[in-house]
């Protein structure tokens, strides 16, 4: 028989390795997705805190915000995105937790 016993074991071992690596990748993707969600929440909070005077929450002296403003393009985009989807934040959470 071509390959013999060793070939069968190698194929089985390959399948097992493939199974675990797929599972590992899937877990990694899931954790990445959850962490990305968390990081976006923190970035949103960071800009909200920094520019609190626009939303009526206590804020640091305005020159701290003014000095950081040129470097916050990404965080401001996140803030806008969050503001746009704020009416449907439950859907965001449900999609993250795979609830249909």
């Amino acid at each position: 028989m071509h390959g013999g016993k060793g070939g069968v074991f190698a194929r089985i071992f390959g399948y097992i390795r493939f199974f675990f690596s797929t599972m590992d990748q899937s877990h990694r993707n899931k954790v990445t997705e959850v962490t990305e969600f968390e990081v976006k929440e923190l970035e949103n909070l960071f800009v909200l805190l920094l520019m609190g005077s626009f939303t009526g929450i206590p804020s640091p002296p305005s020159f701290v915000a003014a000095e950081l403003l040129p470097h916050l393009e990404h965080e401001i985009k996140v803030l806008n995105e969050r503001a746009k989807n704020s009416f449907d934040s439950l859907a965001d959470m449900a999609s993250l937790l795979d609830i249909d």
Binding site: T32, T35, F46, P61, S62, F63
Partner: protein, 310 residues
Amino acid sequence: MKTIFFSGKGGVGKSTLASAVAWQLMEAGNRVLAVSFDPAHNLGDIFHTKLSHRKKRFKKTNLFLQETDLEQSANEYIEANMSLLNEVYSYMQPFNMDSYFNVLKYSPGVEEYAAITAMEKLFREEQENYDYIVIDTPPTGLTLRILALPKITVAWIDRLVKLRKQILEKRYTIHKLSGKYSDKGTKLAYLESEDTVMRKLLDMRARYQNVQNWLAGDKNSICLVFNPDYLSLRESQRLMTGVKDLDLPMHTVYHNKLDNPNSDIAQKVEHDLLKGRSDVTIERVPNMAEPEPTCYIMDKNLIQTFQENK
């Protein structure tokens, strides 16, 4: 170098006493810089000379005079930030969004920021050049806000740094899990040393902490000037409480414009103001009825307390 702040209600004689102290310190052999941070400057009027934001040597003596232009400092700060904002958000120019950035100059706190930035520059650059810097401050409200600013700013920056650290840690986790972390092609920093926002925050923190350390340190004195009247008393009490709350040193108070007709009220005002403050030295300065301020011929020795602490 030592710094001496003169504070108090408007019109109590802060500028005159600051000028007299600066003059006497110079006469005692020190190199002195007298700076006015009061937007309604009087220093030039007192010394009968025209001053600007540049230092001017007074009649070939070791006394130098300067009137800080807070509006100009505020404009310089706004312009520096505006050019950076316009550079980064250049795509907003077709919508005239850049004109909205102009309103920054009217945002609350810019005047205090300009004052504290000018002070920080003064402490940093002039440390080696003078034995004393005497600072004439604006009236109570603005002075308290200026003195409180470094402490408040450091407290806020600490909170922002903590949050930013969390963001960077999470970004680092994502980088470890998926190999990269970017926003539509733009690589996002996950290390503190590479993150511009974190670097800016830490730089700002260091700057304000230095100013706070200087203000609260033993090389700084905040002097209060008050008059024998109840309005001056109430405002001086607020200033003393404010300075105590900020943990800043106030060791000398000047009871200014004293004369015989107001001695009863003067005793009462002094008693009320210094109740429970055995750590404060009081200097009584008689009312000077001369037709013009003659700070540099004042007989009274006003500088003993500073020279003892030198």
